[in-house]
């Protein structure tokens, strides 16, 4: 330890002299605010686009989910906010489109990430095919997104990765509230806990799951917190009172 404390004394002076510019940079905490101020000045100009376009986007928002985030033709007129999903052009995507037709509702690329939206009826088939034929042997994540205003309220999202190809993609499907989804546990073992979490948080039931029960919340908990209609202040008061011996968890 004494060596350690000695060292800085001997090392410090050298760079201080040698590296005047970076030091000024470092000492110049003002330099950072300056950058911030600069960006603040610049942003109104650059931000103008997002702000302007955010409004049409917001206006279009109810329409977009309602139209099942419409493939592309309807979405393009009201799209000016930022990058737009472009069609996923690949042999594989073309092959799927040809084979399943309209059951492949969308196959796009957004910010360099590919995803496809498939009909719920062919979900299992597609997932199995992704693993067996396309080499997506690693199921990274399974989750859901709730859009209460849409008729098909939930987006199921499967994030997949292929070790042989070093490629990531997402398979999505849209389901109605109360509709069941075939479990992916027989395809990837890791789906077990991930699906339990989706069930816990959204109340989506997976058919064929070996033990579908809550995972993070207590078994007797009422409600599914990640649904949009579950307020952040909402809680299962009965459970809290019965189990924690307090009036409220808030």
């Amino acid at each position: 330890m004494p060596e350690e404390t000695k060292e800085p004394d001997s090392v410090l002076p050298q760079p201080e002299g040698a590296k005047a510019p970076s030091n000024a940079d470092a000492a110049g905490k003002p330099a950072a605010p300056a950058v911030g101020a600069e960006s603040a000045k610049v942003t109104p100009a650059t931000e103008a686009n997002p702000v302007e376009s955010a409004k049409p986007a917001a206006a279009a928002k109810p329409a977009v989910p309602a139209a099942a985030a419409a493939p592309k033709p309807p979405a393009t007129p009201a799209k000016p906010a930022g990058p737009v999903p472009e069609p996923w052009e690949s042999e594989f995507a073309a092959q799927l489109r040809q084979q399943y037709g309209s059951a492949i509702q969308e196959a796009s690329k957004y910010l360099g990430q590919t995803y496809m939206v498939v009909d719920q009826s062919i979900l299992s088939e597609i997932l199995r095919r992704m693993r067996d034929d396309e080499g997506f042997d690693y199921c990274v994540d399974i989750t859901a997104v709730h859009y209460p205003k849409r008729e098909q309220q939930f987006d199921m999202v499967y994030v997949l990765y292929s070790f042989p190809k070093n490629e990531r993609t997402r398979v999505k499907t849209r389901i109605k509230d109360g509709e069941h989804v075939p479990s992916a546990v027989s395809i990837w073992e890791t789906a077990n806990w991930l699906e339990r979490e989706v069930f816990d948080m959204f109340g989506i039931v997976f058919d064929g799951h070996p033990g579908l029960k809550r995972i993070l919340l207590p078994d007797e908990w009422k409600g599914h917190p990640l649904r949009k209609d579950y307020d952040i202040l909402l809680q299962d008061r009965e459970w809290v009172q019965a189990n924690l011996g307090i009036e409220s968890g808030q």
């Binding site: 650059t46 930022g82 070790f163 890791t190």
Partner: protein, 383 residues
């Protein structure tokens, strides 16, 4: 005297399930148990001392991080992610900031990327030190804990000097870093690298050839590569099984492509290999640190990001190699200031699922070793 003993009452032909060695017992381990690294509860089904099956009960630390995210702005949510994997807060912040940057289509400036890499690698070392100390302690080696925590202090001091916090650092912002490096930052990191390599040798002297350590870890909790991939296990656990996969190499982010480092892998996929892999990883982290600190460029540390962050409508999944494995964020933006949905793909949660497969057929004492070797943090498992 040679009268035959009447054994008919023993009924030796039909196997009695309740007779001696076939008695099954259910043992509850945790949630208040020092070796479960927090509030993990494991229900063990035992035959004598042999584990027949396990069930993990988790959620005791559930704080609803994903729900909180939906109710905070992008900027406000940033400190919350530090509270998931609290021994590697810097990595959490990096993953989150990068994902939002991806949504905004901005990239942090080169200097910020280097600062990020330096802090993240320091964080990886400190996370592995916590793992080493607690894991060894669980198995009965007391000294490594003190050594590891003593040396980790040097990293925490650098964090504290850099951003004022030691654990939940909130070091990065969307678009880069908010703090310039302090005077003497480079010397501190260089000094740490020089200081740390001999310390690593010291840890290895204590454990690598230690007979007790070898018997407790060799051949314990074996995971083969196929199981790893099927179970979605990532990070050092996957690499110890021989799969050479690290997101820093496979899909480089920040400035990782500028550095020369190796991905250590194991052969047997047992607890001992995972120990070797993590120790080797610390050495590689030091290598990255040494290169990064020499090559750190001058320039701005913040990209041009609007004050009010409003990503365009869309969704993105992005992941980084956290100390525990693949840490992913899936963010859906509806064009407002708050994320519509934030999903965190926690490596600890997914890795913990492999526990059942790893401990079947082992002894109760090995369960402790296996939980330690998985390197879970309950804050991240439960979120």
């Amino acid at each position: 005297m040679s009268e035959p003993i009447d054994t008919s009452y023993l009924d030796l032909d039909t196997k009695d399930e309740t007779f001696l060695d076939s008695t099954e017992m259910v043992l509850n381990m945790g949630p208040q148990h020092p070796s479960t690294h927090g509030v993990l509860r494991v229900i063990l089904k035992l035959d004598g001392e042999k584990v027949l099956g396990t069930e993990c009960i988790i959620g005791y630390l559930h704080r609803g991080v994903e729900k909180i995210g939906e109710n905070r702005t992008y900027t406000m949510f940033n400190p919350y992610v530090d509270r998931m994997d609290y021994v590697a807060a810097v990595s959490n912040g990096l993953g989150y900031c990068e994902t939002v940057e991806k949504l905004l289509s901005v990239e942090a400036p080169p200097r910020a990327q280097y600062i990020r890499v330096i802090l993240t690698e320091l964080c990886r070392i400190s996370s592995h030190q916590v793992w080493l100390g607690t894991h060894a302690l669980d198995i009965g080696a007391l000294t490594p804990l003190f050594y590891a925590f003593r040396d980790r202090e040097e990293i925490l001091k650098i964090f504290e000097k850099y951003c004022g916090a030691r654990l939940t650092t909130h070091a990065f912002r969307i678009g880069g870093c908010i703090y310039e490096t302090y005077d003497g930052f480079e010397q501190d990191v260089k000094k740490f690298c020089e200081f740390f390599i001999p310390k690593l040798d010291e840890y290895e002297e204590l454990l690598t050839t230690n007979r007790i350590w070898l018997t407790r870890t060799k051949g314990v909790g074996i995971l083969n590569p196929e199981d790893c991939i099927a179970l979605g296990v990532t990070g050092p656990v996957l690499r110890a099984s021989g799969v050479k996969w690290d997101l820093r190499k496979a899909q480089p982010y920040e400035s990782y492509k500028d550095f020369d480092f190796e991905i250590p892998t194991g052969v047997n996929g047992d607890t001992y290999d995972r120990y070797l892999v993590r120790v080797a990883e610390m050495r590689q982290s030091v290598r990255i640190l040494q290169q990064a600190i020499e090559a750190i460029p001058a320039g701005p540390i913040m990209a041009k990001v609007p004050k009010v962050i409003k990503p365009p409508v869309g969704e993105v999944y992005h992941s980084i190699e956290a100390p525990k494995g693949e840490l992913g964020y899936f963010i859906v933006s509806d064009g407002s200031t708050q994320p519509y949905r934030v999903r965190v793909r926690p490596p600890s949660f997914v890795n913990l699922q492999a526990l059942d497969k790893m401990v079947r057929g082992l002894l109760v004492a090995d369960v402790v070793a296996v939980i330690g070797t998985l390197d879970i943090v309950l804050g991240e498992v439960d979120r």
